[in-house]
Symmetry: C2
Subunit: 336 residues, 2 copies
């Protein structure tokens, strides 16, 4: 009655791979103006999403994106067995309050910007185990994240060159027994810390976790990067992306030919002042649901490794002088 | 290859029930002086756990409790496939930093004080699906929780009669293919909100979520409260406990004869000034690992429903006038 095999500690091979039945992505005005603007299911011109606060806006974004996914599939909330997901707000209130209004049994997760991959991992455990339909989701909002992690927007504070721009966006994936692509494998990340203490240089902090998970995943599957159509990281940004390539090259793994970062794809550095690129758990979630999964469904890619990375710091741990522990979870998508 | 059946939406019946192989609990000085003081595996007299801050203390508590569990079972961290767990700190840094030092593949969860039941739910999915050994864990610390959610201790602020005392404690459960009791069923909670806005009256906010999950679980199993040796709630406290009994009575379900709350068990209200009782995700975690599981192993109880409840608010949502959404997950333990 096992539903998966452990290829090695941490890497799961699903016996009956969960299928991606459908998806939905919603982003804010700045993401709508980026290179992927035409890919997302929905773009909102009002960053408040009609709400009185940034936190309410983020929760509404999370909730409405799932409602729109259900509408797209002509499903009701009662047709969904479980939802898995989270966000970046303290006590994960964006997803928690959204789950209240949706009334779907909720498994709340916290993996910082790795949350979308973690959602898919737990969602896949549920579908491969016996559930019919599970929604895996994550979201972030630039304004609530700046307020909570850095400074209120009104301060107009200067940003460092290595800093990234939290994506206002959400992506939700409906996992079930029909559809394409399917999730064949998942690697659960181990927390890695290379001693980076600069909270404005998240890419450097997260790249070692990404490299660690990539190595474990490829080793467990006895695969090499060229076996994949593409490898996507969540939000390493342009500096973290380069560090990740270099770290893996030192281990004899060359991902430079078919590797892209969702944080580098979502904004245009020539037109948009986002420094090192996009970040936030809504970054990889919206790029997955808006760009990667549709491209796979259309046959443009047949084997994709999606590795979302999260920096597990808090503003308080930074104040206390701690370094930044990071984690990366890998999800392998394949089309039949 | 299904590893479980869904008895109804939200209630899982495990095909090959995960077994409780071992457990370990650690508590602080105040819990050591309570009625269950002699039950815990380890008690610490230093609330700082030898660390320079309350946050480091909490993370050390989380980590050392797992290390002690491994030592007790003569296991290494590399013998564990996955760990599931979380805590109450912003960005779940107590568990995140502990996971860094333990280097076990980590699934980070946020369910507020329901986290121990959520950890067991996700851990059970992993073990029933095909993993060999998973550690499910949760912890909280009075001093870090007061600092983050209420006031720094140095303020000496007055507490209201309905307020609860966050337990300094951690409980970890090793799930695997051998041992007793086993986890036969789990009900994943839905977020419920009855409009309570008093952040010092968590029991009232969480009782409706507890009642909802109890009803769903009993209905799915076609069971009644008298079929259980005991039903335990996580940390409703003395007021929430009474509300929960009343809410269920109104639905024709009488749990008053075999129902206890972990938050009411852990302190002595006559000797300890904790107002409505214990709370925090370390409350249900330490009482489960220190009292409930040992009693089941000894044959004193053969069927237990463990329902940990969490209030999904944040200090900010309270400031914004929001009510308190809550969730409760149920885990059913049975001995063969």
């Amino acid at each position: 009655m096992k539903s998966f095999d452990l290829l090695s500690p941490h890497t799961i091979a699903f016996g009956d791979p969960p299928k991606v039945t459908a998806w939905h992505s919603t982003v804010g005005p700045m993401e709508a103006e980026g290179p992927l603007g035409g890919c997302f299911d929905k773009t909102e011109s009002d960053p408040y999403f009609g709400q009185p606060s940034w936190e309410c806006a983020e929760s509404t974004l999370f909730k409405n994106n799932i409602i729109n996914l259900l509408d797209k599939e002509c499903l009701k909330t009662s047709d969904i067995d479980f939802m898995t997901g989270g966000d970046l707000l303290n006590q994960c209130t964006a997803s928690g309050f959204a789950a209240r209004d949706l009334a779907i049994p909720h498994i709340g997760l916290y993996g910082a910007c790795s949350t979308m991959a973690e959602s898919l991992l737990v969602g896949s455990l549920l579908v491969s185990g016996g559930a019919s339909r599970v929604i895996a989701s994550a979201c972030s909002h630039f304004c609530s994240a700046e307020k909570q992690y850095r400074y209120p927007l009104e301060y107009g504070s200067q940003r460092t060159p290595h800093s990234q721009w939290t994506v206002t966006g959400s992506g939700a994936v409906l996992l079930g027994t029909i559809g394409s692509p399917m999730i064949t494998h998942a690697t659960c990340g181990t927390v890695i810390d290379y001693g980076i203490t600069d909270q404005n240089h998240m890419g450097a902090a997260m790249a070692p976790a990404f490299a660690d998970t990539i190595k474990k995943h490829l080793t467990a599957l006895n695969a090499s990067p060229k076996d994949y159509s593409m490898i996507f990281s969540g939000d390493l940004g342009k500096f973290g992306k380069k560090i990740a390539i270099d770290l893996l090259k030192a281990d004899g793994i060359d991902i430079s030919q078919n590797f892209e970062d969702c944080g580098c794809l979502i904004y245009d550095p020539n037109r948009q002042d986002v420094h090192a690129g996009g970040s936030g758990c809504g970054c990889s979630a919206s790029v997955l649901a808006g760009y990667i999964l549709p491209a796979m469904r259309k046959g443009k890619m047949d084997r994709v490794l999606f590795v979302a990375t999260g920096a597990l710091l808090s503003p308080l741990t930074t104040q206390q002088g701690e370094s930044i522990p990071s984690i990366a979870h890998a999800i392998e998508f394949r089309t039949p």
